[in-house]
């Protein structure tokens, strides 16, 4: 059977299994990052049972790049709404991911020097960018279980706004990385990132128009501009995810139908992330050293997150912040997946380390992050011991 059909069948099976088991697994174990899809990818990849061949992964690379760009666009569309909702609080919440990213870089860089891990500086920055954000799913999960209170609200805001730091880091990192056949300097690349993102946003606003939203036109404009933006970014050697996030934010700021567009495209996010997780995990090749380094990086990320949470607590002691906030936001989300993908395609030989680090961080986030989150909210009295499934997926305040 054709590899693409195999992939589709596997993804459909994974989707079905997830559909049946997700509620149960979330209730029981708090799996929010899609660890089951990572497991499927490892099992069916070339290093596992080999259902997905190297050739298929190679052929799927453009589609994966497009998917990463699309997730970046979705993030951008959401970011502005969140920032508007949070007001000046958004700036304060950015402290945690900033400190976390700085600490991850510092700790990984230090460990590299101490242990001789042979990591390049761009890889250390890439790990910092990938490690800083956390998924919204964890907080949405506890919200579904009836969590309410100032810390819950703060965590919800934090998990929605912390992606900003990673996107900025990613844009800067791609600008700083030299690319063969590309004569653009770092500042030129940064300028190109901003210009491309904003031009795409302007075009989308014109194409979607001010009249009643027509979904077919909106889809065409978003798909076309997203594909074009990703293609041009890859050609120029700039971050496609950062461009897409800027595109989304710009669209959110200028388009009258931004919230409708956000709602229109919402259903695409989960299936895309699931397919990407399978494909990402399938690319892993086994290497004991890499596994060891990845586990170490996951532990360092946890330490950095704790530090970030503590700093935020020290600065905002009065508003419900808690020193354990960082530990409660360990889970990785869609943006991390997109970033790992785009960085993996740019880093070449170092991509494997990034992939392993992502898997280790995701698993640790799933196993520890959700439990820490529940424990913290229970300790604060914001989550009942047997929380009822009261659903609330909107920002409070």
């Amino acid at each position: 059977m054709n590899s693409i059909v195999t992939l589709l069948v596997l993804v459909a099976a994974a989707y079905a299994v997830s559909f049946v088991l997700s509620q149960k697994s979330r209730r029981s174990y708090g799996l929010v990052s899609g660890a089951e899809f990572l497991a499927i990818g490892i099992v069916v990849g070339p290093s596992g049972l080999g259902f997905l061949s190297e050739a298929l992964l190679e052929a799927a690379a453009p589609a994966m790049a497009a998917a990463a760009g699309w997730l970046g666009l979705r993030l951008g569309l959401r970011l502005l709404q969140t920032a508007r909702c949070l007001g000046h609080e958004a700036l304060l919440l950015l402290i945690e991911p900033l400190v976390s990213a700085g600490c991850i870089f510092g700790l990984v860089y230090g460990a590299n020097a101490l242990l001789g891990l042979s990591l390049s500086t761009p890889v250390c920055w890439a790990l910092a960018a990938v490690g800083a954000p956390s998924t919204r799913s964890g907080v949405l999960w506890v919200l579904d279980r009836g969590a309410r209170g100032p810390l819950t609200t703060r965590l919800q805001g934090l998990t929605q706004i912390d992606d900003t730091v990673s996107v900025l880091l990613l844009g800067a990192l791609f600008a700083a990385m030299p690319l063969s056949g590309n004569g653009l300097g770092a500042w030129e690349k940064l300028g190109a990132t901003v210009a491309l993102g904003l031009t795409l946003a302007g075009m989308a606003t014109v194409l979607i128009g001010r009249e009643r939203l027509r979904s077919a036109i909106a889809w065409l404009a978003l798909l076309g501009l997203s594909a074009l933006g990703t293609g041009l970014s890859l050609r120029l050697g700039i971050s496609s995810v950062a461009v897409a996030a800027l595109f989304g934010s710009g669209l959110g700021a200028t388009c009258r139908h931004a919230s409708e567009v956000e709602a229109l495209t919402e259903a695409t996010e989960r299936p895309l992330i699931q397919v990407l997780l399978v494909l990402l995990a399938a690319q892993l090749s086994f290497d004991t050293r890499l596994v060891f380094v990845a586990v170490l990086i996951a532990a360092l990320r946890m330490a950095a997150k704790l530090l970030g949470g503590s700093v935020l607590h020290l600065l905002r002691r009065d508003s419900g912040a808690d020193p354990w906030m960082g530990a409660a936001t360990l889970s990785c989300g869609g943006l991390t997946t997109a970033m790992v993908l785009s960085l993996g395609q740019a880093l070449g030989a170092d991509a494997q380390l990034l992939l392993w680090a992502f898997v280790a961080c995701s698993l640790l986030g799933d196993l520890l992050g959700s439990r820490m989150l529940v424990a913290l909210l229970r300790r604060k009295g914001e989550l009942a011991i047997n929380g009822a499934g009261q659903s609330s997926r909107t920002m409070e305040g």
Binding site: M1, N2, I4, V5, L8, V9, V11, A12, A61, P62, A65, A66, G69, G181, N182, G183, L184, L196, T199, G202, M203, V206, L207, G209, E211, R212, R214, S215, A216, I217, W219, L220, A221, L223, G224, L225, S226, A227, L228, G229, T230, G231, L232, L234, R235, L236, G237, A267, T268, P271, Q345
Partner: protein, 455 residues
């Protein structure tokens, strides 16, 4: 005032298109070295956006969207500005399969039993007359004009006979995709629409058989062996049966999904369509027939399923149509058309004339309604992917004699029919008064409504 506003918006879109092309050209000159990831994505983005903007321009000119998509492909493609080079066009071809699957699904969704019953008599008569008139006239035209090409002028008499036979079969093939593309845009209802759907689907099947038979006969005549193997015909029969069986199964799966799950229908259809397209390619099944049958099953097994299918395909379908026809436009070799246009134009004209004659005769035999009698030939002019595919088969079957020349001629004539056919069909729908709605109606309504009223 309203018109001024709508033109202002159009100008803004044209400016956006110019900015888009300028931005792409700027990026291409800044970094001339392309990479394997960037090219297909840039190409896809340009074709989608260019197609949509060209379609809007064509709409203002009273032409169908499909013509705009084709023009976008021609302008942006390898024979135009080369912003989407030939390698990229080739790389994007797999997306065609998905697009064609959605197009065929939506066409099948229009084929309720009522439509089939009411079209049966017309279909029978039209099939007989199309075969009895178009085949001999197109063959005779080739016999007369073919020697203008050196391969046929210098070849044996057998070569010319073989070429004429194959050309005759190529001439009766139609473009289901173009027909369904227009139906998706205007959602027409009426006897002319039913007639058009029934004929193009029927001829998709008939031509497969005819072509398999003719290529065997042509091989026997051209090689002078005078023998032919009928194994290929059996294989065609097997494949058609397989297509119908797989289509039925797919239709039942889609019906079941709509009935019991119903979530994210576009996503579900996209995944299922892609998987089945790969399945069809693997077994050599006729993809178009497979998906038309699936759509037919969904429409006839459950009424709500048919409506859901049409709604889902019309939402996701526009993207599919743009990709499909923009890629078709990008494939059109204008350079080739420029070199053999007199011959191509002559053969295309004879085909149109024969089609008109056959449609009139068929309508007279079946006592069709006046609109079908008058305009029934107009939806049958379009030709596209199926005919081009057969041209490739001919080139591969006769690589050292007339194959490549006949393929070039096919590309040139299909180019003419691809551009003219959709316009003729749109004129026919306009005159027959069967356009029940335009996908752009909401826009027009919004434009024609004062802003405050719309709010």
């Amino acid at each position: 005032m309203v018109r001024t506003d709508s033109w202002t918006r159009l100008l803004a879109k044209i400016a956006a298109l110019a900015a888009l092309l300028g931005m792409s050209a700027g990026a291409f000159s800044l970094v001339p070295v392309d990479n394997r990831l960037a090219a297909p994505l840039t190409g896809l983005g340009l074709l989608l956006l260019g197609g949509e903007l060209f379609a809007e321009l064509m709409e203002r000119a009273g032409l169908p969207h499909l013509t705009g998509y084709l023009l976008a492909g021609i302008v942006l493609g390898p024979h135009g500005l080369d912003l989407v080079p030939a390698t990229t066009v080739g790389g994007l071809t797999p997306i065609n399969a998905l697009a064609l699957a959605l197009i065929a699904l939506s066409a099948g969704g229009e084929l309720t039993m009522g439509v089939l019953r009411s079209s049966a008599k017309s279909l029978g008569a039209a099939t007989v007359t199309q075969l009895a008139i178009v085949l001999p006239l197109a063959g005779a035209a080739f016999w007369w004009l073919g020697p203008n090409m050196p391969q046929f002028a210098q070849g044996s008499r057998g070569t010319l006979v073989a070429g004429a036979l194959l050309w005759a079969v190529l001439s009766v093939s139609r473009s289901p995709a173009a027909t369904f593309g227009l139906i998706a845009q205007f959602r027409p209802k009426g006897p002319l629409t039913q007639y058009a759907i029934a004929i193009v689907v029927a001829f998709d099947i008939i031509v497969l058989f005819l072509f398999a038979l003719t290529i065997q006969v042509a091989d026997g005549i051209a090689s002078g062996r005078g023998q032919m193997g009928l194994g290929a015909l059996r294989q065609v029969g097997d494949n058609l049966l397989g297509s119908v069986a797989s289509g039925t199964m797919l239709g039942l799966i889609i019906t079941g999904y709509f009935k019991f799950v119903g979530r994210q229908p576009i996503l579900f259809l996209g995944v299922v369509a892609y998987a089945m397209a790969e399945f069809a390619a693997f077994f050599g099944y006729d993809m178009l027939l497979l998906f038309v049958v699936a759509g037919l099953i969904v429409a006839n097994v459950s009424r709500s399923g048919g409506e859901l299918l049409l709604e889902a395909t019309s939402q996701g379908g526009r993207v599919a149509y743009v990709v499909f026809f923009a890629l078709a436009g990008a494939h059109l070799d204008l350079g080739l058309l420029a070199t053999i246009w007199p011959l191509a134009l002559g053969l295309a004209a004879v085909r149109v004339l024969a089609t008109w004659l056959a449609a009139r005769a068929g309508s007279w035999m079946a006592s069709d309604e006046p609109v079908v009698r008058k305009y029934g030939w107009m939806p049958l002019v379009s030709q596209a992917g199926v005919t081009l595919g057969m041209g490739v088969v001919v080139a591969n079957a006769f690589p050292n004699s007339f194959g490549p020349a006949l393929q070039s001629l096919t590309v040139a004539v299909v180019g003419i029919n691809e551009l003219v056919g959709p316009i003729l069909f749109k004129i026919a729908l306009d005159r027959a008064g069967e356009k029940s709605r335009d996908l752009d109606e909401p826009l027009r309504e919004a434009i024609e409504q004062p802003e405050s009223e719309a709010a």
